[in-house]
Structures are given as structure tokens and as C-alpha cells.
Symmetry: C2
Subunit: 516 residues, 2 copies
């Protein structure tokens, strides 16, 4: 059936939606919420059907923006519309719902249909939930990884070895990548780093890096930067590397589960051609992995998965009970990283973590033998790393002369002071993230939290513990409100032994960490 | 925020959708695919947000028909719109995703939010999938049953005992209820039967009954009919009994899973006040339960669930390898049932099944003691059952004088004849259903399949095996096509031992049976 397009000027927020007149829908033999197959000038697409009696006349098809964009539809275009065939991958999803293991071919069909928007939200949600419920075997994770790589673009760089790093996230203020990339690149190793914006955190690496330089490069520009400098720090979202993952994340996030974490991470690394990868696993209360035991098990799986997909993986299990450095929020973190790489401020935990991970990468790439961290530290101390960072900033189109003082925080600030003396006993990561997000981070780049004290520090009454920065008084107010409900820091003379009392069935507000 | 309503004249096909202008959405602080809380004249509703730049102007809210209907919205109505609060039940769903058992309070909150449309499709799909993956404990099934009853309307009839029956479905041509209800009611036992239309089958009991009488009664009319006749056969869809189930079915159906079968069935029975229930479990290849062992396990669970929710349950495990009687399709089946109850045609399997189940109900209700089937058979033979059926038809607004010959099948017919002699070795239920549905059943009430032979019958070359009826030549053609791909009946001299060969990983086209 041929129908005339009518651009509706509406967004569904993701799903490809079209609106048919009830008469046309009847003729096609479809009900609302069914799928149609659309074709225009050789391009095709599956879309979800809504029905209309008035807005869309007979012979016309109303298209939402997502569909109009995908097929380059203009008002009046003659679109071929047919009932969509039952997606074969749905049978595999149904098998998974019964607890069956899927083979690589099955997974490939699912991922292809995800990329082509042939599965709707119900089906995607069922698939993701079934993966969560039944778990993924290493073979399934490998199959998904390969399928996700093959259904997207790839970065092809000839000179190797190519290394990469990734953090599974959860620790606020983790600006490690901003140091690791220049250190590694300065030592002559290729590290084409893509990163994400914050999903549940107060700042993603892409948000931090964007304070210093443009990060929304396309794949050709990314390649040019890497060729000139050995490294880059770009936002992965615009690159179409393993694009299925972006759709899975949209389902995982509202459900607070991420069964696809391993294939997601691994596929992005493989898509940039990485041969050696270090996975950072921050560990401890308030981070994604609660125990070192959990971290070890996950590390084993990651290494195993790496073997299956041809990537040599090592894991760094790191302390994750409190923020890295003293800052949370894109600008504050970028400034602290810049100070650290310029040796203008001592940020010992950040430097230790960054040089450790860089050292592991250098050893994997054969640039060091048992003394990776020393080599990394030398690159930092000698100024080679700073020079490399500035070169990367320049090549990505930023101001390579940028100084920490150029970076100004939001104008509204709220000092939080100690009400008793003692020691900082703990910092609540998720409360800290909630406060920073309420203050505007990461959307308002200059918002965030500056810490003055960390765990174990001695505190006197009236000492400033931290400052919250926000662009708007309203947002600062909201951050303050959240702070009252959920304390960020505990100061006491001796260890408080009680976490909390449980007197009735608790509604546990569990924070969920999703970083890609 | 107050916004002016604009009726869009569009249906989403279920989900409550509204369209906001991007500016208003920004002011509210929501993204597309978020939820808003709407209020108009004391009524409230949660809706999913789509965004628009042109179609819906600032200060205006576009509403889909589902929302307009729910809140009685007219063009220009001033609607209060706020960001919806995080539904508490979502935390319970997240717990279930982790494999946790839910308690009755948790389940009640989920079901209430389902009824109030506070959960979106992703969340519902995840919940249903998690129930499928982790299974329901009997306590969870009981909690869901009670919650589903309490969130809907109930039929209140004072005189007891009240009995009910239900088939878990899967056998084509199962018109048993059309006999059971009048038999039981004729014996002085109250049986307020609600039934469903076909979901995956060629005819639901409501579709069959509708050939003889109106079935879309409201709850008051249903009560009147039951008071006058002891029974009724009405469509449950318009009654708001356990309405959560209708939403669960919309998720279960596309996923081909029905983890909520037990609470769904039990809640509908409890909602009409049934104290004694017989569950019919057709069993065997081609029906929902493949083995008698499966059926026994399910029966045990049903009886157990009944105990928990205060309903005495017995189960009838019945033969389900081939159709009941010789007809498939609403009119053909209604006619056959009418002939059987009038003793104008011998339909021995139907009569045996109906009198058995009716007998079990009569014994449960104390109207028989060990001789239930005899009492039921007597009601049939004496004409009491026919008289009762005609009384019910009359009270529901149908023609109580209706004769089998008044019921005319579709005008297009296709005879399928035996190409070799031998015996009917098997009938493929799902192929038969597919053929009947392709021919137009259940939407075209007069379409369907008339069988002349059943399993074990001797066949000569050229004997008619069955006739397919359709309203339109096009539909008959489609049915014929499907018949070619998937044979309905096998005729052979000796038993063929091979089912089929498997030479490579098969894509099993499994049929899914969902009847409520």
C-alpha cells in the first residue's frame, strides 16, 4: 500500500512511530501497536503503528520525527507500507524467556533487529530482563560482543599495539582517564579512548573532557587526532560504535539492571580495535561492586570474555569507598586533573590510580617490564604527559594553553561546615552524587562539589567540609534539601557502629550505577 | 502547571499518551518518555510524554484518545500537569528482577499501579518476564489473585452455593461451557459464567455464545440474568472484574508467555463469588499441556492456590489431542452445541466432557453424591438443560426459539478430500486453528471448519475430510495456503513413525496458547 507522508512534528522519545488512519489500517489487516514495514527510495524501516480517525486522513501516513529522520521523509512523500513480518529474532527471545542458552547466530539476529528497530519496547524489555534473570554464559556474552561490534562502525588504525581502559564506574570524581590517556600516549602507545556522558553519575569522562576540548568528533576526525597524537578523549555517543548498546541502555536504565554490561564494554573496546584492555573495578561500599570477592569474580569473567573475543584483558581492582581527589562535577574535575598533570597540586590518590592503570597498559603493550607504574610516573613528572594532553586538546579543537585558573565554577556556593570535631568516618558516594546532580551537574558543567576533607581527616568544629556550587539559587536549594535527607559525610570522635536500625519491612532506596 | 487540552484524535493502542511542547516539557523538567501526572475535575491519571515542537503549542497539551476517555477531557479543558512521582511499586518490580519473593503488600502496590496505568510497558514487560523466569510461589500467586480481585468490581449474589468452571484452553472446538452452564443451572446451582473472546484460538466461549445471544452485558444485567436463571454466559471484557489482568495479557501475548495464568483465572472466579471451581485441563500433543504429568502438577498448584484464596478447586484432566466435536468457528460451534443439547445430533465426546465437568460441579455443590455425571446426563436427556439454555438466551436478550437451521455458515466453502485411503492418524490442533483463523474466525462468526473425520476414523480415497468456510474468497485462499504449509490431518494405512527429521539447528515455530 502506498501512503502520502505527513510529518507530524512529534517525538516519541526513541521508538519509531507512525500514525495510520483506521480505514487504511483495517485494509492492511493490522491493529494498533502492530508493526509496519516502510520503504522510501530504497531505504526501509520498521515502525510501530498508532491509529487515528481524524488527524491522519485515509491515504495518509503520519510520521513521528524519529521515522522522518531515519527515512529522510518530506511532507507528501509516497511511502510503501506493509505489515511487518514477524521478526525471526523474537523466537530466540522467547527461547531465552524459557531459560535456553542462545548461540552466536541467534544473538546476531537479535542484535541486528535491535539496531534496525525491528523489536519494540516490550520485546526488548523482556530480553534484557531474561538476560538479567537467567544470566549470560561467557559464550553468550562473546556472541553478543561480536554481534554488537559487527552491527556498528569500527575504527581502523594500522599501527599497534592499541590499548584501552574502562572503568565500570560508581566512584564520584573519577577523572583517572584524563591522566591515563596522555601518559600512555606520551609513552608511544596508541589509546583511542571513547567515553560516555554521565547516565547515573555526576559526570562522565566525556562531560569532564568537554570542559577542556570538543569531544563530539566523528570517526574520521577521531582517527586523525589519534594518528597525530597516539590518543584522544572523545564522546562515543556520536560514533555509531556498537550502536545496539545505546538501545539496550535505554531499557536497562529505567529497570535499574545492566545484564549487558560485559558485552557492552567489550564491544566498544573491540570496535576501536583495542588489543589490550585494562578494566578498572572500583570496589567497596557505595560503589558498583560491594566486595573484593565480587570484583574478583567479575574480573575472571572479563578476562575469560576477552579470550573469547580476542582481547587481552587485565583488571585493576581499586578502592571505591570515597571520591577520587577532592572534586565532583565536570569543570571542577577537569580543573583538578589539569592541576595534577601540571603538578600544581598534589592529588595523590588520583595520581596513584592513574599511574597504576597506565603502567598496566604500558606493560601489556610491551613498553615496560615490571616497572609500568614507574614509567608512567616518569612521563607525568617529566611534563611529557602534560605536553601530550595539550597536544590532544589542540588536535580536538580546544585551547591548548588552557590554565586551571581559566576554569571558573558556578556563582552560587554553599559551604557545609563541621558541627562537631573528630574524624571523617565515611563519605556516602551515592548521596554525594545526588547532591551534585541536584546542584546541576553534569548538565551545568560548572556545578558540583569541592571537598576539603576525606575519610580519616581530622576535623575541628566549624571547618569547611565541602562546598556545593550551582548556577541557580533554586538548584542550590534543592541540593541542600537532598543533603538534609541523606548525609554525605559523617564526622565523629569514635567509630559509630550502627549503620541503621530495621524495625519493619524496609523500602530500601538502592542507588543504581550505570556507566558505559 | 496548567495546560489547555487539545484532543489529537489518535490512539496509541493501550498506553496513555500525551504530547507536550518541548518548552513546557523543559519547564517541567521532563524528558520524552517520562511520565506526567494529570488532573482534571478531581480525576487523575498518569501518562507517558511524547514531545512536539509544532503540533502542540506552548501552553497546550495534546491528548491521545485513551487519556481523553479516562479523564473525560474536552478540547480546551484546563489540565493540571506535573512530573509523576516515582511509583513505589517499581522498587518491588526491581526486587523481583533480582529473584526476590514479593509479599502480598508488594504485589498489591504493583497491581494497583497497573490498574491506574502508573507503570509503562518496559516496566510491565520486565515484571511479567521476571515472573516467568523466576516463577511464582503459591503465596505470590495468592497475593496477586487477591490484589487483582480487590482492584476490580465484584459480583455479589446472596444465594449459594456458587460454582464456576474454566478451561485453560488449547483445544479447538471446545464448546463445553455452552452445555455445562445450562446443565448446572437447570439442577439449581448458581453458575455466573464469564468468558473471554479468542486471543490465540479460533473462537472463545464469548464468541460462540454471541451467536446465540448478546454477551456484552454490564454487571447489573448479568446479576439480573443469574437471579432469574441461576446462570449466564457473558463476556468478561466489559465487566471490570480483575481489570489488571487485561493489562497483563497485553504484555503476555506478544511475548508468548503467561506466568500470570493461575492468578488471572482464579481472580476472575473469585470476583464472581465462586466457592467451587472446576478447572478443565485439556492435555496432549497440540494442546497447552503436553503431558499428563504436567497437568497433574498444574492441578496440584491450582488446588493449593484455591485453598489459599478460599476457593475449593477440582481439576478435570481431559483429552486434548484433537478438537471437541466436529466444528471449529463461532457459528459452527454454537450450532453443534445447540444440536447436542437438543439431542438432534450425537456429539459423544462433547456430551461426555460436559456432563463430567457439570457432574463434578454438582457434587461440589452438594447436588449429587458420587453420581454427578448421571445427574448431569439426566438434566440433558430430560430436556431441562435445553430449556434452561433457552431461558438464559431469552434473559440475555437473544431469540429463545433459535433453531440449528437458523444458523447459516459463510457462503464460500472449500472441501478437502482424502488423497489416499486408510485411517486418520492425527489432527494437528494448531494447524487447524491457523486455518480457521485465516478463513476469518473468530471475527467473521460464520467462518470456520466443519470436520467429517476424526482420529481413528476409516477413510476412503475421495472422502471429504473437512470443509473450510469463509465470508470472502480472499480469506478462503489464505486458509488454503496455510493448509498447504501445515497439514491439518494425516491419513495413512499404517502408523507413520517419523514426526520429522532434524538436520540442522531448527527454527521451531511453536504455537502459543493464551486463553483467559
Amino acid at each position: 500500500m502506498k501512503l502520502n507522508a505527513k510529518i507530524l512534528g512529534m517525538e516519541s522519545g526513541g521508538s519509531p512511530v507512525v500514525v495510520l488512519n483506521v480505514e487504511d489500517a483495517e485494509d492492511l489487516g493490522i491493529r494498533s501497536d502492530s508493526r509496519v514495514w516502510l520503504q522510501l527510495r530504497g531505504k526501509e524501516r520498521i515502525a510501530i503503528v498508532n491509529l487515528a480517525e481524524r488527524v491522519v486522513e485515509e491515504g495518509t501516513i503520519g510520521v513521528f520525527d524519529e521515522v522522518a529522520k531515519a527515512l529522510n521523509i518530506e511532507d507528501g512523500a509516497k511511502i510503501t507500507v506493509e505489515v511487518a513480518k514477524f521478526p525471526k529474532s523474537l523466537q530466540h527471545i522467547r527461547d531465552k524467556l524459557k531459560g535456553r542458552k542462545l548461540n552466536e547466530e541467534d544473538l546476531r539476529e537479535i542484535v541486528q533487529d535491535v539496531v534496525d528497530d525491528r523489536l519494540d519496547e516490550i520485546e526488548l524489555a523482556a530480553f534484557v530482563t531474561a538476560l538479567e534473570a537467567f544470566g549470560l554464559s561467557i559464550d553468550e556474552a562473546a556472541g553478543l560482543t561480536n554481534a554488537m561490534v559487527d552491527t556498528g562502525d569500527r575504527l581502523k588504525i594500522k599501527d599497534g599495539p592499541i590499548v584501552d581502559k574502562h572503568s565500570i564506574g560508581g566512584v564520584p570524581g573519577d577523572k583517572t582517564t584524563l591522566l591515563v590517556v596522555p601518559i600512555v600516549a606520551a609513552c608511544g602507545v596508541v589509546i583511542p579512548k571513547t567515553s560516555s556522558r554521565a547516565i547515573t553519575s555526576a559526570a562522565g569522562t566525556a562531560d569532564r573532557a568537554e570542559v577542556l576540548m570538543p569531544v563530539a568528533l566523528d570517526i574520521d576526525d577521531m582517527k586523525t587526532v589519534v594518528k597525530k597524537t597516539n590518543g584522544c578523549i572523545v564522546w562515543g555517543g556520536a560514533l555509531h560504535l556498537a550502536p545496539a548498546d545505546d538501545k539496550f541502555v535505554q531499557i536497562e536504565y529505567p529497570l535499574s539492571i545492566d545484564p549487558l554490561m560485559m558485552p557492552s564494554i567489550m564491544s566498544k573496546k573491540k570496535a576501536v580495535g583495542a588489543e589490550y584492555v585494562v578494566i578498572d573495578m572500583p570496589c567497596g561500599r557505595g560503589s558498583k561492586l560491594k566486595t573484593i570477592g565480587d570484583a574478583n569474580l567479575l574480573a575472571k569473567d572479563f578476562i575469560e570474555l576477552g579470550k573469547k573475543v580476542g582481547v587481552r584483558v587485565e583488571c585493576a581492582i581499586t578502592h571505591g569507598e570515597q571520591p577520587i581527589g577532592h572534586t565532583v562535577g565536570p569543570l571542577l574535575e577537569a580543573r583538578e586533573a589539569l592541576q595534577a598533570i601540571m603538578r600544581k597540586a598534589a592529588v595523590p590518590d588520583l595520581v596513584d590510580k592513574a599511574t597504576h592503570i597506565a603502567g598496566m597498559l604500558l606493560e601489556l603493550a610491551g613498553k615496560a617490564k615490571g616497572n609500568g607504574q614507574e614509567v608512567a610516573m616518569e612521563a607525568l613528572k617529566s611534563g611529557k604527559a602534560e605536553k601530550k594532553l595539550r597536544q590532544i586538546i589542540f588536535e580536538q579543537g580546544g585551547d591548548s594553553e588552557i590554565k586551571p585558573d581559566d576554569l571558573e565554577v558556578s556563582k552560587y556556593g554553599l559551604d557545609v561546615k563541621a558541627e562537631r570535631k573528630g574524624y571523617v568516618l565515611w563519605i556516602n558516594n551515592s548521596a554525594l552524587i545526588a547532591v551534585a546532580r541536584a546542584a546541576g551537574s553534569p548538565k551545568d558543567k560548572t556545578a558540583g562539589v569541592q571537598l576539603y576533607k576525606k575519610v580519616g581527616d581530622a576535623v575541628k568544629i566549624g571547618d569547611r567540609l565541602f562546598t556545593i556550587y550551582a548556577d541557580k539559587a533554586r538548584k542550590l536549594k534543592r541540593a541542600e534539601q537532598i543533603l538534609k535527607e541523606d548525609p554525605v559525610m559523617d564526622v565523629a570522635e569514635r567509630m559509630h557502629m550502627l549503620v541503621h536500625e530495621v524495625k519493619e519491612s524496609p523500602l530500601h532506596k538502592k542507588s543504581f550505577i550505570l556507566e558505559r
